[in-house]
C-alpha cells in the first residue's frame, strides 16, 4: 500500500517536473523577463535530465547504477551552485552579501569532500550540507527583504516564489536526507516508504513554486 502511495507521489512530482520544464522553455531568449530569471530554465532542464536518467537506470536498467550515482552527485553540485548564484542575484546588494558568499565558499568544499570521499554515509551528509547551506541563504533573503525598502509586490515577484520553494523543499527533505540511510537499513520497507514520501513531496512543491515564479515572469512581461 505504501509502495503505491510512494509511487503516486513520485508520479505527481515527475509530472510537475515536466510541466515546469515545458513552461520554463518560454524563458529562453525572452528579453522581457526580470534579468535574474534569464537562464533559470537550466534548472528544470537539468532536473528533467536527471529524471530521465533515473528512469533509464531504475526502470529500464539501461544505465549502470554506479554511473547514475556519480551523475546524481554532480547534479547535487549543480543544484547547490545554481541556487546559490540565483539567491546572490536576487538579494539586494550590500555588505552582508559578502558574508553570504562566504557561506557558499565554506559549504562548497565541504560538499565536494563528502562527494569525493568514497563512503556512502558521507554522500548523505553532502545532501544534508547542501540543504542546510541553501536554507541559510533563503533565510538571509527574507531578512534582507524586510531590512530593505519594501518596494516589491511579493505575490507577483518570481524571486519570492523561488526562494520560498527552495526553503520549503530543503527544510522538508533535510531530516530524510540525514537519517534516510539509517532508516533504510533499520526499519521495515513499508514504514520507510511512508517516511520517504516527504522527498517527492518537498521537491514537487519546490518545482511547483518554480512554475509559479516562471508564470509570474511571463505574466509580468505581458503586462
Amino acid at each position: 500500500m505504501n509502495e503505491a502511495i510512494f509511487s503516486a507521489f513520485n508520479i505527481i512530482k515527475n509530472v510537475i517536473y515536466i510541466i515546469t520544464f515545458l513552461v520554463s522553455l518560454n524563458l529562453i531568449k525572452n528579453k522581457n523577463i526580470p534579468t535574474y530569471m534569464r537562464g533559470f530554465y537550466w534548472y528544470p532542464v537539468i532536473a528533467n535530465l536527471m529524471l530521465l536518467l533515473h528512469i533509464l537506470e531504475k526502470d529500464l536498467n539501461l544505465i549502470p547504477k554506479e554511473f547514475f550515482r556519480e551523475l546524481n552527485l554532480v547534479s547535487l553540485l549543480f543544484h547547490f551552485t545554481f541556487l546559490c548564484l540565483f539567491i546572490f542575484k536576487v538579494i539586494p546588494k550590500n555588505n552582508s552579501v559578502k558574508y553570504l558568499k562566504l557561506v557558499f565558499f565554506l559549504f562548497f568544499p565541504v560538499i565536494i569532500f563528502f562527494i569525493v570521499t568514497d563512503i556512502i554515509h558521507y554522500e548523505v551528509l553532502a545532501f544534508a550540507v547542501t540543504n542546510f547551506g541553501l536554507i541559510i541563504l533563503c533565510i538571509s533573503y527574507y531578512y534582507q527583504l524586510f531590512k530593505n525598502t519594501p518596494s516589491l509586490n511579493l505575490l507577483k515577484d518570481p524571486s519570492f516564489w523561488i526562494i520560498t520553494g527552495v526553503l520549503f523543499g530543503m527544510s522538508t527533505t533535510i531530516p530524510v536526507s540525514i537519517i534516510g540511510g539509517y532508516l533504510f537499513n533499520n526499519i521495515p520497507r513499508d514504514i520507510f516508504l511512508s517516511v520517504a514520501v516527504i522527498m517527492p513531496l518537498g521537491y514537487g512543491v519546490m518545482h511547483l513554486f518554480f512554475l509559479k515564479a516562471i508564470l509570474c515572469s511571463i505574466r509580468r512581461q505581458k503586462v
Partner: protein, 267 residues
C-alpha cells in the same frame, strides 16, 4: 483498531497536511508582514512629500516676501528720495531768479531720469523676460553690468564650456539663485570681488558663486538662514544640490550642481 499500513497512511496524510499548512501559514505571514511594512513605508513617504511641499510653499512665500521688501526698500531709499528731491526743486521754482529756476528744472529732469532708469532696472531684475528671450548667460551678463554700474564690486563671469540651453523655467530658477546669492553678498559679506563660474559637462551643470568677503560660520544660521534655505530649496526643486562653504575671513562659495540630462528630458 487500524492495521499498521492504515496507521502509517494516516500519519503520512497528517504529516503532509501539517507541512502544507505550515507552508501556507509561512507565506501568509511573510506577505502580511511585508505588506504592513510596505503600507507604513508609503504612508511615511506621503508624509515626507507633504512636509516637503509645505516647506517649498513656505520658502516660496518667504522668497515673495523678500522680493517685496527689496522693491519697497529700493523705492523708498532710492527712487522715493530722488523723486522727493525733484518735487522739492519744482516746488521752490521762482520767477525772480530765472537762472536758478533753469538749474533746478535741469536737476529735476536728471533726478526723474535717474528714477526712471532705476525703476526700469528693478523691473528688468524682477522680470523673467530676459531669461525667456535671451537665456541664462545673457541674464547673468546683464546682472553683472547692472552691478558693475554701482562701482562697488568687481564682478567676474566665467563660462568654461559650450553652453547648453535648458528649460526656461529652470534657467529662471538658477538665475534667481544667483540673484539671491548676490543679494546676500551685498547685504552681509563686505566683498569687493564676486566671481560667477558656469560649467556645462555631459551630465551636470555646475554654477559657482565665490566672494572675497568676510565669510561666516556655516552653523550660525541666524543671519543667512532664509537666503541659504531659499537657495537650497530652489536647487532641490531642480533635483540638484547646493553646497555652501565658508569660514570667517575667507569669503564664501556657493556651488550648485543640477543634472543636465533630466533637464533636457523635460524640454
Amino acid at each position: 483498531m487500524f492495521n499498521s499500513s492504515t496507521e502509517s497512511i494516516i500519519i503520512l496524510i497528517i504529516v503532509c497536511t501539517i507541512l502544507i499548512l505550515l507552508l501556507i501559514t509561512f507565506i501568509s505571514v511573510i506577505v502580511y508582514r511585508y505588506q504592513q511594512k510596505q503600507n507604513a513605508y508609503f504612508k511615511n513617504m506621503e508624509q515626507l512629500k507633504i512636509t516637503h511641499e509645505n516647506a517649498l510653499l513656505i520658502s516660496q512665500i518667504e522668497i515673495q516676501e523678500q522680493t517685496f521688501q527689496n522693491i519697497s526698500r529700493e523705492i523708498h531709499d532710492n527712487i522715493g528720495q530722488k523723486l522727493s528731491l525733484a518735487k522739492l526743486h519744482l516746488n521752490t521754482l521762482s520767477n525772480s531768479a530765472p537762472e536758478k529756476t533753469i538749474q533746478k528744472i535741469d536737476e529735476s529732469i536728471s533726478l526723474i531720469g535717474e528714477s526712471i532708469n532705476d525703476l526700469s532696472d528693478i523691473g528688468r531684475s524682477m522680470s523673467s523676460e530676459i531669461i525667456l528671450n535671451n537665456g541664462l548667460i545673457k541674464a547673468l551678463e546683464y546682472e553683472r553690468a547692472h552691478l558693475q554700474k554701482s562701482g562697488l564690486f568687481n564682478i567676474n563671469l566665467e563660462i568654461s564650456s559650450n553652453m547648453i540651453f535648458l528649460d526656461a523655467k529652470k534657467e529662471l530658477l538658477l538665475f534667481r539663485i544667483v540673484q539671491e546669492a548676490i543679494h546676500n553678498i551685498i547685504k552681509h559679506a563686505d566683498a569687493s570681488i564676486i566671481s560667477i563660474k558656469l560649467h556645462y559637462s555631459n551630465s551636470l551643470l555646475s554654477l559657482e558663486i565665490i566672494d572675497n568677503g568676510k565669510g561666516f560660520i556655516l552653523e550660525d544660521n541666524s543671519e543667512h538662514g532664509i537666503g541659504i534655505l531659499n537657495m537650497k530649496k530652489r536647487a532641490d526643486t531642480l533635483k540638484g544640490k547646493c553646497v555652501i562653504t565658508s569660514k570667517p575671513g575667507s569669503g564664501a562659495s556657493i556651488k550648485i550642481e543640477i543634472p543636465i540630462y533630466e533637464q533636457n528630458k523635460s524640454l
